[in-house]
Symmetry: C2
Subunit: 146 residues, 2 copies
């Protein structure tokens, strides 16, 4: 169902193509990104990787994610008030449903919006680069805890 192994190999070969070296730390970071569907932060990736490689530094996690971001293989969700979250499974723009309390991030199914960004951009003479559609709310669990 969840073909994270294929995604991991895809990431590895894309790095090789560009002559990046496959270090154990990088491989572990790629795996975490290919497996996680909770859109982890750098800190969360760091905590996970430390269980396998206790000497890994935060800077290495930042650098690896920056490389993947630049290659378009990771989607960054930046926020005004807290750390960015990353999606390495689906690097193309898509709708996110975000709990404002616990910061859970889901990928809901949303249809019939694909054409909107291009249309709006062209209308104003812009060349479309990407887009972002976030829906903020209170998740069921956080509602019941109120």
């Amino acid at each position: 169902m969840d073909d994270w192994q294929a995604r991991l190999e895809e990431l590895v070969s894309k790095l090789r193509e560009r002559d990046y070296r496959i270090t154990p730390q990088r491989l572990a970071i790629l795996k975490i990104l290919a497996v996680s569907d909770n859109h982890p932060s750098v800190e969360q990736v760091y905590e996970q990787i430390r269980r396998e490689f206790p000497t890994t530094s935060l800077a290495t996690v930042y650098k690896t994610i920056a490389t993947l971001k630049e290659m378009g293989e990771v989607l960054e969700l930046g926020f005004a008030d807290c750390a960015s979250r990353y999606d390495g499974k689906r690097p193309k723009p898509h709708t996110h449903l975000i709990c404002v309390k616990c910061r859970t991030i889901l990928d809901p199914d949303v249809k019939n919006l694909e054409s909107v960004p291009l249309h709006v951009a062209q209308q104003a003479g812009f060349r479309l680069v990407s887009h972002r559609f976030d829906i903020y709310g209170l998740c069921p669990r956080c509602q019941s805890e109120e």
Copy 2:
């Protein structure tokens, strides 16, 4: 056409309602927010206000905007890689068209999306709080400078 004076008075009376004091600095910040349609950053508000009140501090600008944000009278657009931008004219969520190069922010006309956030939120059992729809591209000017 552009009724910034009405918006300014609205902001002033909302502050008074909550027993906030109307200082000259606050009034000047409110005016800049009510007039600007370019979604200024704190730094830009600060530069403008310094022309009128040269001793105003950045902290005061931050504090005033934080107050308005909390009151829902200013919309914050946060980014991963640069300072937040603020919209004090239209504090309700709406679509933004953003140039990735010069960081110009426009408010394009987009229809038929109003129902989407509520629908997606309910589908997943979330209580809708707000949403954000950003379209990123290269503006006409930046395209010709490439």
